[in-house]
Subunit: 340 residues, 2 copies
């Protein structure tokens, strides 16, 4: 199977310095892969040459004269950056030249431009951002991570459909368990929107396993966890914050006394193995789902290893034809519901 | 200064087995402290004797014939458990016999009963749950943690006032920096409620430092972080989930190979010191603020060390007269606002 991925080579904190070597690495893994590097031609040609590679049928460059800044207002980028590396990469997907687009650029601008260029799938109100997170026994996909706020019950239901398809197709889970993120303190649990979404999910053919709480995200009690974008974004970022704090204290403790330094030396191989296990770079590559095309967002600060993983996520979604499967499942669930 | 704390001795997973030794420990630290153990008299007398102690002027027992189960519906507890250890302890605060109440019982029931028995302070719509969390450089107070969902901008503002008073009074921070929890992905950041709350905070005399994101909770960028209860509960629980997962993997890594076991032996003192630093037991004791009385909620699974910390939090709030200070600050902020 031949497939083509367009890379926004000027998105993210590092631009071509990360995107080009990541592309070369993934090209060496997949025979059928073609990559289009999008951005300022001269710089890209120079970077490719510096890596000891050259343009070829499998590695082409598409010039784009503009870049979107990481802090640029999405609406401004949409209006004034019609020849940005991000926009041109998305256009390639729209035109059918590329099967997917990967960008480490400004999330808001990527979401706004992708919605404008690619449009949402029929039956999907708004796209969502979904990412994999490690659990004690594997990983789980959480959505939405901040593309939406004040999601309606119907939108939460659409998130569940999109998450199920992604988990089924890309992670090969036959009947993904879908959990709805909620809190346990209120008598009638959660808010009105969550309760109504629970009713929709329970009546559907999805494998809905009920309410889950924040700590369940990392317990692996569900394969897909659905929530409003505000809530998901806070859950993700506070998790990152805790992990960062623990790592800060580990470093501090192991650099204290002479004994601590010796202990660090002895413990390092073990701690390194641990770090690899929950390395966020392994989980890099959040998908913008619900669009008529495949768009993967890499972390802005991604290094080569991390960006390569985002490309691999895009490839997996192309191979499994994720957008069409979302449409099909959505149609089948909606038909079933109307039949009831 | 003499003060009296009523302890719900039959709340939580362990009941008197934890509450009684914790009470004895804190009694030995504060000369002016009196403790009233509330619950089934015979069991309490037996537990006190088993600890080598006896009833005294400083340690009295108040009989209560019922207990509230951890999974009991709050409304049912409120209606049918009028002689529960929880309710009687709250009554003692209401009657002025005790200055504060500490319970490790059912959070929902404690909140519902406390609101019914003690009532909210003037100007406060609904009480909130607030807790301290460790940061890389100290700690921060986060509220609400689940007492409210769909908080209005006015309620978020009240949370800010309550959090500021608590941080100023108990943590001795002169002008607590107040952050409003938000997400950074949307063009016009966050939802309508958060934006409106930001306007209220910016126009007040509180030391409002602007929007913060989930990862800022653990960075110490604010002393008080304000959010809707649904969001706060998810942030807290997902943080607990990550910490638990990391600890799970640390244990797993250090029990793997022979080398890993040796490394564990060497690293143990360092890891133990780290564990003490971010030990959740040190942060046990969430306050129910906004009531006409002091109520501290201990974690249900708290051990003696953790429950003793919840008692100490209650003592600090009594010493600093937190409810009156909340009223005063609220009145002063509201007057200022009306004057503008």
């Amino acid at each position: 199977m031949t497939l083509t991925v367009a890379l926004d080579a000027f998105g993210g904190d590092h631009g071509p310095a990360v995107v080009v070597p990541a592309a070369l690495r993934v090209l060496s893994e997949y025979d059928g892969l073609q990559v289009i590097l999008v951005g300022e031609r001269a710089t890209l040609e120079r970077t490719v040459r510096a890596q000891g590679a050259a343009d070829s049928e499998r590695l082409t460059i598409r010039h784009a004269s503009q870049t979107v800044a990481m802090d640029e207002l999405p609406s401004l980028a949409l209006r004034t950056k019609k020849d940005s590396s991000m926009r041109v990469a998305l256009n390639l997907v729209k035109e059918g030249v590329a099967d997917a687009c990967v960008s480490a650029g400004n999330t808001g601008a990527l979401m706004a431009t992708a919605r404008f260029v690619l449009r949402t799938l029929p039956g999907i109100d708004r796209p969502a951002i979904v990412s994999s997170l490690p659990t004690v026994c594997g990983h789980t996909r959480l959505l939405d991570l901040g593309a939406n706020v004040d999601s309606t019950p119907g939108q939460l239901f659409q998130f569940a459909v999109m998450g199920s398809v992604l988990t089924n197709a890309v992670d090969n889970v036959p009947h993904p368990r879908v959990g709805l993120l909620n809190i346990g303190e209120e008598e009638i649990k959660g808010n009105q929107r969550v309760r109504e979404a629970a009713r929709l999910l329970a009546g559907s053919e999805l494998n809905y396993v009920g309410f889950v709480e924040g700590d369940d995200i990392y317990r692996g009690t569900a394969d897909v966890i659905v929530c409003d974008g505000f809530v998901g974004n806070v859950a993700l970022k506070s998790s990152e914050g805790v992990a960062h704090m623990i790592s800060h204290y580990v470093k501090q403790e192991f650099t204290g006394s002479f004994y601590a330094r010796i202990a660090a030396l002895v413990a390092r191989p073990v701690l390194n193995r641990l770090r690899r296990k929950i390395d966020p770079r392994r989980y890099n590559g959040a998908s913008l789902v619900g669009l008529r095309g495949i768009v993967v967002k890499s972390h802005g600060g991604a290094d080569v290893l991390a960006f390569a993983n985002a490309i691999r996520e895009a490839i997996a979604e192309v191979q499994k034809n994720v957008p069409a499967r979302i449409s099909n499942l959505l149609e089948s669930v909606l038909t079933t519901k109307e039949a009831v």
